[in-house]
Amino acid sequence: MSTARTGLPVGLDRFGGLAIALASVLGAASFLWPLFIPAHAGMNQAHAGDAPWIVAVLLPLLLVAVLGEFSSGGMDAKGVAMLGVLGACGAALRLPSGGAAGFEPVFFLLFPAGYVLGRHFGFLLGALTLFASALVTGGVGPWLPFQMMAAAWMGYGAGCLPHLRGRRELAVLAAYAALACLVYGLLMDLWFWPFGTGSSSRLSFQPGASLAHNLVRFLLFHVATSLGFDLPRAALNAGLILVAGRPVLAALRRASHRAAFGAPVEITARPLESPGVR
């Protein structure tokens, strides 16, 4: 299977790649819809509340599709076990915060993992970590698929970073971590926007208004409500990566080496002539 070829824990065939791309586009749409919704959609009072719920139904389906692709695209025991174990570590990191925003060092594990073990693994790990911790802490709800999708993208991005050496590697990872944490916060806020503001305030989205106009309103909402959580989180994760990044990367590399993903296996029935005989 493909894992053996790539030497990475999880692989994906071309269907899977296509599925990820498609699902991500739709996922993006289900995050960004308030910015683009047309004027008359807001008029329809009876149904104005529908869009968020439709999207909340849609996203789990997207995730099912993508994760299913991963399952059939080839995950062997090693990949599954490593996913599970790293997911557990992530969940444990989220326990103190109960999955709430603010103190959330989970990304400090996710990004190095994605970076070392590849973007597909990063995608999966991002999604599964949040899922597992939600199950452990009992935080399952309509918000969960959005968290999973967002975290999955972040992990995928970490896997796409250029592979450097030494200091520059850490610097790039830390910078990415800070950025990704902020983006994650933005995305989750974007999801909460319609609920947080209703439709009758100067911060709520205006159907039909220009993108720039809505964007400004959203950013104001973001600054007003949750930037206070996101900045510390970004700093925390970036700091952790700077401090502990090197040994963590080393540990991950050692593990993926020990797990021997796609290591060459050779079995020959012909016995090796022992020196004594020769």
Partner: protein, 240 residues
């Protein structure tokens, strides 16, 4: 400019400093084709909703009705339509379309009147669309009929002064008359009060019968809630 928008009001000489005059064009569309222009003296920065409110109290109309869900959507002017709010039929809605600009330069408003802040010489437009599409493609308010033009100056200039209200008095006036919010000033107050009178009485008579049930339900809810709380407390105390 002016000839392009006949509705524009000439600011009367006696308008106090720091105030502006805006025109409100209300086109009742389907009902009787009545188009009404009112000039209201107000403060820069007041919202379209407040000016509409002032106009209503000025003309003794019923208080403009807004969507109950608290979204800033306007449902009725002068109690028309009597019920419903942007009621949908297929892809069409019966609703009050909101415009800015006047004359040939009407622009479909992107937000509710609660968000639009006025500046000097603005023209506000309202047109009831019996079956509009809620897009800028809907027809703008028509030019005012002659009758309307004759009617308006008389009403407005007379009471223009009363409609301009220093924000300070708001608190008192509203506390004095619950039914008719935020329209300050004596003259308009009385006008609007009896406009909104019947509404208040009806709601009073209903609530009188309703109160008992209401309290009953609240009691029930509290009872169940307390029960749940007690049980979970016991459980947690058992746990450790």
């Amino acid at each position: 400019m002016d000839e392009s928008s006949p509705e524009r009001c000439a600011a009367p000489a006696h308008v106090a400093k720091g105030h502006i005059v805006v025109a409100i064009v209300v086109d009742f569309g389907g009902r009787d084709g009545r188009v009404l222009v009112t000039c209201v003296v107000t403060r820069p920065g007041d919202t379209g909703a407040e000016v509409l409110q002032a106009q209503a109290s000025l003309l003794g109309y019923a208080v403009p009705r807004y969507d109950a869900s608290g979204s800033g959507l306007l449902c009725a002017i002068d109690g028309y339509p009597p019920s419903g709010c942007g009621t949908e039929s297929g892809n069409h809605y019966a609703y009050w379309a909101y415009w800015h600009g006047g004359g040939k330069r009407w622009q479909y408003a992107s937000g509710g009147p609660g968000e639009w802040t006025l500046s000097k010489g603005d023209v506000e437009g309202w047109r009831f669309e019996p079956d509009g599409r809620a897009t800028p493609a809907d027809p703008p308010p028509r030019a005012p009929s002659r009758a309307a033009e004759l009617e308006t100056p008389a009403t407005t200039t007379g009471t223009a002064a009363t409609t301009t209200r220093p924000p300070a008095t708001t608190g008192k006036s509203s506390s004095s008359s619950r039914s008719n919010p935020s329209a300050g000033g004596k003259g308009s107050n009385t006008l609007a009060a009896d406009a909104a009178g019947p509404v208040r009485q009806s709601s009073n008579s209903k609530s009188a019968t309703r109160k008992g049930l209401f309290i009953l339900c609240v009691a029930l809810i509290l009872l169940i809630g307390a029960g749940a709380y007690g049980r979970s407390r016991r459980k947690s105390s058992h746990a450790n």
